[in-house]
Amino acid sequence: MLNYAVKRLGLSVAIVSLAMFLLFCMIYLVPGDPASVALGPRATEAMKEAMRVRMGLDQPVWVQFWNFFTGAWTGDLGEEVLSGRPVLDVVLEQLPYTLVLIAGGISWSVALGIPLGCWAAINRGSFADRLVGILSVAVIAVPSFVVAIYALLIFAVTLQWLPAIGAGEPGDVGDQLVHLILPSLAVGLGWVGYIARMVRASMLEVLEASHIRTARAFGLPERLITYRYALTIAILPTITLLGIGIGQMLSSAVFAEIVFARPGVGKLVYDAILTRNFPLVTGAVLVTTVIFVLLNLIADLIVGALDPRVRSSF
């Protein structure tokens, strides 16, 4: 297991390093001089020159890359162009909003997906099963930004049940939760489908298992067998699925944050692009990439710990 964990960790480090390299190439290729962007149109040539030195732009490419690379690994992602604050601080300030949004998305997908999948598995082959199958595929297919806009249109604009914009009053948890309902639905709805399908498949497998047959032979009530003995096992693959899911929910979160005008990393990157604040763009992209890689690492390590076959094939 240790051998596997070290190898898997090495892969993650390599992936993050490669991502940093790609990001550096991107910044380097961006048309326009970052120093002139930072100082605005009225800056003199001397001011620009001083700014270039301060940003390290006067050095050879490979020195710039090395500085970026070592800086990034130690958490120094440079300074934001407009206010001069460290990029990492700005990103970490926005990150909790995005994480809460994703947690909300997971709540929706688990709360709806597990019962639906369970229901379909118990009524295998019935109309209900088919309906859940079609619904799952349908919610996976429809893009999250369309869900976000239609949810906004129906529940916030037309019915006016829920607020349309913002993250709620700071400090008022109830208000914040109410503001979370629609955006997190947009983030999580697609995953309702994935989880329902996953739970259905593994539930069907578990219901055939011998310990379930034994439980039946002992005459335990069907309800107890289903929820207590079958579902607790059938739910396990869902956990690893969510590990991957969180990364994809990051993408949906960007749209949800923009549509519902919520603070968060997605909104931050979007606004940074509009204002051509490139260090902020690369910094935020890097932070989300690291989170994504980390989550996949954790999911793989959990699977590796549970299933020796995965370890040996690596």
Binding site: A14, I15, V16, L18, F145, L250, S251, F255, G266, F292
Partner: protein
């Protein structure tokens, strides 16, 4: 002898015909097919179906609700939304076809190289594929557009970057599985060149499942185009795109909700259509792929 070393027989014509008939018997597949056809026909015959120019600005007709003259209403510049939706379909289908074809071509070549080439190259390419996939899609799109600027080409580039690693991995896995099979060993021992082995013996066995998977990715591709255009990172105005219509509508969602509805509806129709069709196709053509994803 030559019989024994030839590739496994490909599907015959009658097999294909039977699969198509089975597809048409599945209600879900038929429903999906009709949705897709609806959009395709709408895009192809856009000029016959509506007299309105999708980019012509009519300041006197701004924000008209749906009516007999304007089936879906007009937007903030007085442009007919029905016409914009139909022409937006052309953009969506164009991006889907072009970027999927390019992704497939690159994915097949890279996958064959990784699967058939030396071990170190394989490891390096797998690492690259994993690194590419470690960017969340939207973040990748946002980062890329900062360099290239918003355009149709940027959208196609993002789709290729998102799709190629997955396709290449599938091709690689299949290639590795097939390259140790008897008919490949036999071809090698008879002196067939690497290029010939790849083209005649490995490619045909790799391409079938790949094309089915690629067709199931089409709704994702269309979603990427619409999503990027919605964020203003894709198709530039005034070219009609479903995403940019949705964005126009989002800005006016309280006063004139029909613009957002007109932009979202075709996206829902086409993604549902392709997904239902793809699910059924997969079950009919290749039951082995069932349960993937």
């Amino acid at each position: 002898m030559s019989e024994a070393v030839s590739s496994p027989p490909a599907r015959t014509r009658s097999d294909f015909g039977r699969s198509v008939r089975r597809l048409l018997r599945e209600p879900l597949g038929l429903f999906g097919l009709s949705l897709v056809l609806l959009v395709i026909l709408g895009a192809v015959f856009a000029d016959l179906l509506t007299q309105w120019d999708p980019t012509r600005i009519n300041p006197r007709d701004r924000f008209l609700g749906p009516s007999a003259a304007h089936l879906l209403g007009t937007d903030q510049l007085g442009r007919d939304l029905f016409s914009r939706v139909l022409h937006g379909g052309r953009i969506a289908l164009y991006v889907a076809l072009v970027s999927t074809a390019i992704s497939l071509a690159i994915g097949i070549v890279l996958g064959l190289i990784a699967g058939y080439g030396p071990r170190w190259l394989d490891n390096l390419m797998i690492l690259l594929f994993d690194a590419m996939k470690s960017f969340p899609t939207v973040m990748l799109a946002l980062a890329l557009v900062t360099i290239t600027g918003p355009s149709l080409t940027s959208v196609i580039l993002v789709v290729i970057l998102v799709n190629v690693p997955g396709y290449a991995r599938i091709v690689r896995t299949q290639t590795i599985a097939i390259k140790s099979s008897e008919f490949v060993t036999a071809a090698q021992s008879m002196g067939a060149s690497t290029a010939r082995i790849l083209r005649v013996h490995i490619m045909p066995n790799v391409i079938g499942p790949l094309v089915i998977l690629a067709s199931m990715d089409i709704p994702v591709v269309i979603a990427i185009e619409a999503g990027m255009s919605f964020l203003g990172l894709g198709v530039r105005p005034p070219t009609p795109s479903w995403g940019s219509i949705l964005n126009d509508g989002f800005g006016q969602i309280r006063e004139t909700p029909w613009i957002a509805i007109a932009g979202g509806l075709p996206i829902i129709i086409i993604t549902l259509g392709f997904t239902f069709l793809g699910e059924t196709l997969r079950d009919v053509f290749d039951p082995r792929l069932k349960g993937r994803g």
